[in-house]
Symmetry: C2
Subunit: 327 residues, 2 copies
Amino acid sequence: MHILITGAAGMIGAKFLQRLARDPGALGRPVTRLTLADAYPAAAPDGLAAAVEVRVGDLADTGAAAALIAGRPDLVVHLAAVVSGEAEADFEKGYRVNVTGLTALLEEIRAANVAEGYRPRFIYASSIAVHGAPFPERLDDDVAPAPLTSYGTQKAIGELLLADYSRRGIVDGIGLRFPTIVIRPGAPNKAASGFFSGILREPLAGKEAVLPVADTVRHWFASPRSAAGFLVHAATIDLAPLGQKRTLTMPGLSATVAEEIEALRRFAGEAAVALIRREPDPAVARIVAGWPERLDARRAESLGFSADRSFDDIIRAHVDDEGIGAA
Amino acid sequence: MHILITGAAGMIGAKFLQRLARDPGALGRPVTRLTLADAYPAAAPDGLAAAVEVRVGDLADTGAAAALIAGRPDLVVHLAAVVSGEAEADFEKGYRVNVTGLTALLEEIRAANVAEGYRPRFIYASSIAVHGAPFPERLDDDVAPAPLTSYGTQKAIGELLLADYSRRGIVDGIGLRFPTIVIRPGAPNKAASGFFSGILREPLAGKEAVLPVADTVRHWFASPRSAAGFLVHAATIDLAPLGQKRTLTMPGLSATVAEEIEALRRFAGEAAVALIRREPDPAVARIVAGWPERLDARRAESLGFSADRSFDDIIRAHVDDEGIGAA
């Protein structure tokens, strides 16, 4: 099968590719061709026996989407996005990439659908940032999105487009509302949520990390390993049970910053915890205060999606996957 | 004050203009200037002491939105839309007018906002078509839109844009989810809901009407007079209580086709009812089956919005407003 991944140079794309390389049978049929698209050159994974094409550019540019769809991928994994902090700072860039880019891709698929009945599976990466405070007691897929950021707005618009293009038979679409992913490997990105990873990743590597919010902040998390698992599952299951409601809240772990720190203490000791420097940032705190603390993912769980059970598991997965030495 | 009305040639636009002409103090300050935009030439209302400019064109065309915003209207009433039946039949036209047209307008306002702090009140006409079956017991503003038409999808996208541009301080926005408006005067439009009006309007004028669905179909209605009242109220109230949730389900009347017909019988007698010809249309029935029967508009009611109490009232308002002789 031929897979197109947009945003393939990003963390979730890389984790999905690693998973396919380690477990070539994951999707039920061999991956023979990969198109990796991003604004930056994506790295082809080692050990994957597929023809790999790397494309660099802005999805919203004229002709960019057409070039990606020309090869008629069987599966489109649409991860390309401007993240929350950047979409808030750069209004135009956020809408261009997160809405216009998605629309360009869907419109190219529609043209091929009209011409020749082409209809790929389309996995759309959405986010719990579609929700905004105040929250109802049960935050499930039936609660109206009320985003408090442009990023959340753009993701919610994408969900609506995905559902309409799916209803029209243009794509076989599934949207995944990702929890905040921890521990993000590598360098920090521009997401306002970056510190949730930083306060574990940096001390685990013997470096200082900044904590811009209070210890009592509670949020909804999943590991990169779980995120890759969500994509594999979304690529393979029957989507008929979704009906018109094409986007699912992914399972996650509800935990506080203090619980993160306790897990770090258990794994790496007091010296690691001492590397966390408290430096309150009201701008970050304000954005994070608009995010949910806990979601109801029973619908996704009933379809077989699953995530991490504890921060101890999340730290262990990070150390295993990234090959980092622990205390 | 200067008011821009898009879709001003449509029924709700005309009713709003009539209301302003009859009740010049309705908005609290005099209307000195009116810009009436539509794909067709809008009629300036008799008896309104304002400078009127009529503009004809497609809002999504290059430069069209800029020309409308150049006069810096204090109030924008955005009614322009491709309706449900047509947006379903013409995918591209629906998205162009209902999404690209709105975006063009908001982007022109944003440019003026950045340049000079311009921030008009912006009333966005949304629709109960953002909801799709199956429905929860209570269908209020906190229920996630799950549209079953492209029109409903486009309206829901517009609501998200309205909220984000409002949050950013670009517009002082309020969205109104209109009930199905009955009795629509004049010729039928392309809305799948047109028969709800036709089965009253045509017999009241001594003409035959077609009923494409069963008598038991229940739906959510308001009169054109109430619709104009919603706009007047939305133009004048303080929007701070809306918070981030900028769109409100408007009050309405839940009634069946049979109840419509009984009100017609009471008002115009058996001969009028005999003019209704039953001609089932599965395509219309399928669209209508995806629409809600009853909504919870308590949030709007608490902000002072109100609608009709019975179909007898709705028929009486039609006959009074349109100057139609009754039996």
